[in-house]
Symmetry: C3
Subunit: 215 residues, 3 copies
Amino acid sequence: MIIGANPTIDDGVKLGYRTGRKIADHTLRIGDDACIRFGSVIYGGTIIGNKFATGHNVTIREENVIGDGFNVWNCTTIDYGCKIGSGVKIHCNCYVAQFTVIEDNAFMAPGVTIANDIHPGCEHSADCMKGPHIETGVQIGVNVTLLPFIRIGAHSVIGSGAVVTKDIPAGSVVVGNPGRVICSIHDLKCQTGLTDQPYAHVLLHGSVDLEQNGR
Amino acid sequence: MIIGANPTIDDGVKLGYRTGRKIADHTLRIGDDACIRFGSVIYGGTIIGNKFATGHNVTIREENVIGDGFNVWNCTTIDYGCKIGSGVKIHCNCYVAQFTVIEDNAFMAPGVTIANDIHPGCEHSADCMKGPHIETGVQIGVNVTLLPFIRIGAHSVIGSGAVVTKDIPAGSVVVGNPGRVICSIHDLKCQTGLTDQPYAHVLLHGSVDLEQNGR
Amino acid sequence: MIIGANPTIDDGVKLGYRTGRKIADHTLRIGDDACIRFGSVIYGGTIIGNKFATGHNVTIREENVIGDGFNVWNCTTIDYGCKIGSGVKIHCNCYVAQFTVIEDNAFMAPGVTIANDIHPGCEHSADCMKGPHIETGVQIGVNVTLLPFIRIGAHSVIGSGAVVTKDIPAGSVVVGNPGRVICSIHDLKCQTGLTDQPYAHVLLHGSVDLEQNGR
């Protein structure tokens, strides 16, 4: 176990918990300035950057590679084998499935649940598990469900309670079950008078941005 | 920390946990006859009435003001700054967002998740966070999603899995994603022969009640 | 408390936790080869078979009767009075309501939440609580909501995010809110080329199977 400078680690925390899976390296590596709160369990074999902070009763499994500034709140589980960028925040009661990819600065609100097995109970399940790929800056609302294999384009906003079943272009706003794209993030208006467009500061690259520019 | 008479507090509980936020008063105040179970964490700076009971692995953050008879079950988080009346029961795996208001005798079934940020990632987010206002006696079914800002009228029943996106009149029954009002609670019939109308004992005041009286 | 041969029990676990409910027998009985992980609580008055394994922060209440090979993962609660067969797996952040019946080899993905009270707040609620009946081999996707009283036929697959409000025939595929049957499990095709039909190995008995045979 290798923990960086200046950690704050509560009692009632387990670090380097040993998985029953056979893995090459059981070492837990955490960067500087970690804050790990009462009730959380971090497995050996995972690498986490600087300024890592947890809430309570968080579980992070083995073979995850996680960047700087990772915040993860109460009762969330990060299952094994995920790649998570820097600046990612995952709120309470979420489940991140094995082999999910989450790019920098993505956010998940409470209750977001990710699937990685399109046909549970299939005899070939173990060979085709794959979580979604969530691109940079994506904002995912409360109680959202994400299906396996899908890719959610950069800076998209997934509305609370949506069930996302297919690929989403960058900068999209998605709602409903099944989730459907209803507009671009640049079409959203502020409802409280603090600004005009809540996502005006987001510069999109690619098709949605071009479409915006052409309007 | 000020705990009233006759508490039952398991080992493996944290009381008066200190928030990293700057608050005026870090004292935890709990009334008489509290029962706090293994794995739960209650932050300093919160006030809770008499006959408080938790399940396991509950987190209650700071600056909450909570009435008598509060029951909260396993793995639920009450985030900071909420106002919760008396006789409120919140079941397992729920998330109550900052600045939510819950009036007397409201009930949340397992998995209810509340949002308080209409545009996550907006640079003005911190200035417009506001949870919903849940009026007296509201009954919220399992896995329900509540959006920010909305007000749910007294004694409404929110069906399991609904996603409530706007204000709901008192005494409404709501289902679906997005949630829509399908009838009054007085239109619901008992399916098991134990009574005629399950909510006949609820006296509504205001438009829905008047509408009922006029039928 | 009666624990069988060869248990692996972490510290930070509570076994035989005493319910406040009046029950005839507070003994916890667990079979051979149990593995109970940090943070979990198993109440007295429950019977569990061999090869029982938990994740972290699991709660299993009293008066449950559970078969062999039961796996239950992080932050899931099994409430009291359930009957659970052998080979059942229940993933993270699930809630199994009182009086639910789950037959052999059923699977619940993360976030599955079960209701047992059709009219919460009714004065007769306590007399008509009843969870769903989940038949053998049913596969339930992430964030699925199950209503009370319903019966889900053997080997059905409930798609992620579905809200199941009524009985489902054996071998059905269900999606949406409210959940509707869209096809038989034998109509599903593999999307990754590992097989033709992911559920070809499932032999259904009854109407759906007969329909299949007649095609």
